[in-house]
Amino acid sequence: MATTNIHTHHEAHADHHEEHEHHHGNFWTTYIFSEDHKVIAKQFLITGIFWALLGGTLSVIFRLQLGFPDMSLEWLRPVLGGWITVQGKLDPEFYLALVTMHGTIMVFFVLTAGLSGTFSNFLIPLQIGARDMASGFMNMLSYWFFFVSSVLMFISLFLSTGPAAGGWTIYPPLSALPQAIKGSGTGMTLWLVAMAIFIASSLLGSINYITTVINLRTKGMSFTRLPLTIWAFFFTAIIGILSFPVLFAAALLLIFDRSFGTSFYLSDIYIAGEALAHDGGSPVLFQHLFWFLGHPEVYIVLLPALGLSSEIIATNSRKPIFGYKAMIGSMLFIAILSFIVWAHHMFVTGMNPFLGSIFMLLTLIIAVPSAVKIFNYVTTLWKGNLRFTPGMLFSIGLVSFFLTGGITGIFLGNSAVDIQLHDTYFVVAHFHLVMGSASFFGMMAGVYHWFPKMFGRMMNASLGYIHFWLTFVGVYLVFFPMHYIGIKGFPRRYYTWTNFDFAQGFTDLNMLVSVAAILTLASQFIFLFNFFYSMFRGKKASANPWEATTLEWTTPRVPGHGNWIGEIPSVYRWPYDYSKPGAEEDFIPQHIPYSETPESNLPHENDLIKLETSDGEGAIVVEGTKH
């Protein structure tokens, strides 16, 4: 094992020199069809930011309808054209299209590709000490598949029949029958094709992440010395590989039903004056398949954010993350459980109630590792020396959302309580906080924290603080009131509630939510300005501006192709030696051997010194046998 490692390492090293020759000067290979993980990460990030803005804008348009139902939207006609009715209102069918696309874009294109794609690509090689991903070519393909998928999804917005409009969960028969809703015509076809390509992209990425983490770790980087970010990306990639193919299957069968007359999901349908020939299918089958991805997807989105924030909170608390192994354990447990809780989205679909009981039991168990994570974060803050960098602020924001949104999961996971709450605004509040906002904050935290390594410059901190506070308060103002609206029973995906007596009132809260949504979106432009301005004009960063311990901060200010000039540093300790008693500085990077820090070594660490001298080779073997 050890020899293989070293061997790979030398090979990578040699590669680096070779590639150096022909990797300069060509714009296309450097910035467009690049195989460098850092460039690919930035490509994912920029595309993700584009989608986030678009997805956010869509949500503001439908929030206008919900918060100000009497407002004339005539002024949107230049953009939306025929989707504004003669009365100057939003077309109800387009409202559903907006809701659908907002969900699709945010879940897949922003929080899966934009978050995981960016940071897995950027951080995995840098933090494990690798020159690049295991396969740079596959990595490049992963981005370009995502790009093609993006283009198709984007085109679908401009169809005369509109984009997919059956909700982001695209439940058939609605999504299968163009007679049922216009969006199920070409819009849905493009949705399915785009998602199929997206899944390919995601799989290419995930396979690469897993391979890289397993095979390309530098000398001494045992699994128990991996930063929590890497653990999170590793689990995320495994979840992705196991669950995305199921969505692919679900989509494929839906394509068959739509285009080739099969009956996987369709049966007993009478629509638009005729009884369809489809017979024997089950719409509930689709829901099972969809949520078999759909629920793990929540953790595909959330785990990377938790990984990033673990790292950032430890660094800025100047303390080791509390319970490193418990954090890994809880992530592993969450990852496993995430596969066996999917049907809690389906308590009232007519599924056998016994299944409901089982899934309720499993679902509520997942609250335990989640609670452990929150307690560990809080304990990490205890007796720390907290630096509120923008990255730290967003990480704290994440923990806060994870707590607030996670708690409501205990209501929804209880099938008896879920009967009333299912498909109301309570659900909307729940998942936007726990998965949407928490992951979004993790992404923001990551951008602020690793921007210096991405672009060699610092983002403006003051603007970062303003951005954080506006967004943090804004998000709470958007989603907290929705709990009340949901308890009252307001159903989701309603164009307006005027038809129902029970869903009257709350015009004030709905207005507040909409105003807060607009302000929150507006404050993202502070970030955008900061991001692009700092990229070119920001203060030059030092190589390790946050005084962090992980390997990426040992690279030059702007790491070039191959990441390290000369040899890749070896790793001698875990990534969280912050404020170690006896040490002069309040951090000891991972590449500093114990032999150099006799003043701060713990007794068992002194024993490891002997192994360090034997060129690291022995160290790996012993590490291996020890664990």
């Binding site: 109800p92 559903l96 059956g166 028969p173 609605l174 029958l177 049922a180 369709l266 049966s267 007993d268 009478y270 719409p283 608390s317 303390k319 080791p320 509390f322 319970g323 490193y324 418990a326 009232v348 109630p353 409901g356 009981s357 309720m360 168990i365 335990v368 609670a371 452990v372 929150i374 809080v378 205890w382 007796k383 720390g384 020396n385 907290l386 630096r387 704290i396 923990v399 707590l403 205990i410 209880n414 099938s415 309580v417 009967i419 009333q420 709450l421 403006n460 003051s462 009340y484 308890i487 009252k488 159903p491 995906r493 307006t496 038809n499 007596d501 029970f502 969280y576 912050y578 404020s579």
Partner: protein, 357 residues
Amino acid sequence: MMSLIILIGVVLVLVILFLIFRVSNLVGIAKGKEEEKGGTWNKVNAALFVVFSVGGLIWFFYYSFVYFDDYTLPIASEHGKRTDTLFWITMWVTVVAFVIISVVMFGFIYKYQYDPKRKAKFFPDNHYLELTWTIIPAIVLSVLIFTGLRAWNDITAPASKDAEVIEVIGQQFAWTCRYPGVKDKELGKVHYKLIDNFGNEFGLDLKDKNSFDDFKSLELHLPVNKEVLLKIRAKDVLHSVFLPHFRVKMDAVPGMPTHFKFKVTKTTQEMRDETGNPNFNYELACTEICGQGHFSMRMPVVVEDEESYERWKASQESWLKQNPDYLKDVPANLKEAAMIKAGMEKDPGTSVATVKE
């Protein structure tokens, strides 16, 4: 013209903001001391977290107590009381946890803000702490799980034999009810291929004699204090029956009939008296996205005491009587019975007994 002025105004504001940003940046550089760790901003951020958490918690409790009646719906079913109790138990458990964790977390954030003179405590793990906060949530959750499971099992248990059976059918974008009729109290068979545009919206199979006295209603009438079994189906896409006051929700699935049993505890009139709203009405809403008119799928619901309910049922014309053309689909040997059952011919009294088996 106006929009041009607005545009210029916006551009000016942005330019000014940018200039302020540049100047403050340059001033910072001129001062030579860029915002160091633990500077003013660090204190401001720490303080803001406290302001935010205290303000947020006060607002949360204030709103939750003062506007309690505005955001809760009255309950009018037996199992609804149970699920609502569970809801509020969960609420109290989680709110206590939420407040404790929030206070502790934001307290730490304020208390341990950066101080160059201090060094953070090296505290990498503690198994007792980890075990404690694994076991305590596990115990609390088990209690919630088991109370929830018992409620769920009772709610989803099979309905009793004498439950009042009513069929609710969802289609784009309306609900329809079918009652089994007062004579046989059985719903007739249906098949989706029999649905047509001319009147047979149920797809009623007229070869089945149970279908003769079935009747249609666009209002859902329910008896109070009697178990009701809603049989739910959909004709085109997914819909979902939502009776908010009864805490009932169940999807309507094409090709897979579903059901929900419950017992209503208050008549419409009782609810009007209780809420002091003379216009109060129970309602049925759709909660599964089903297309353009999803938001308008409303069916009025009327709850009466059993006597008026039976009277109402008896006063309804059977579907067959309203659509006499379909008599042609009734097998010849059943025509007589059909006419009588559907109320199209006077019941000749005793002779019926033989027809009715």
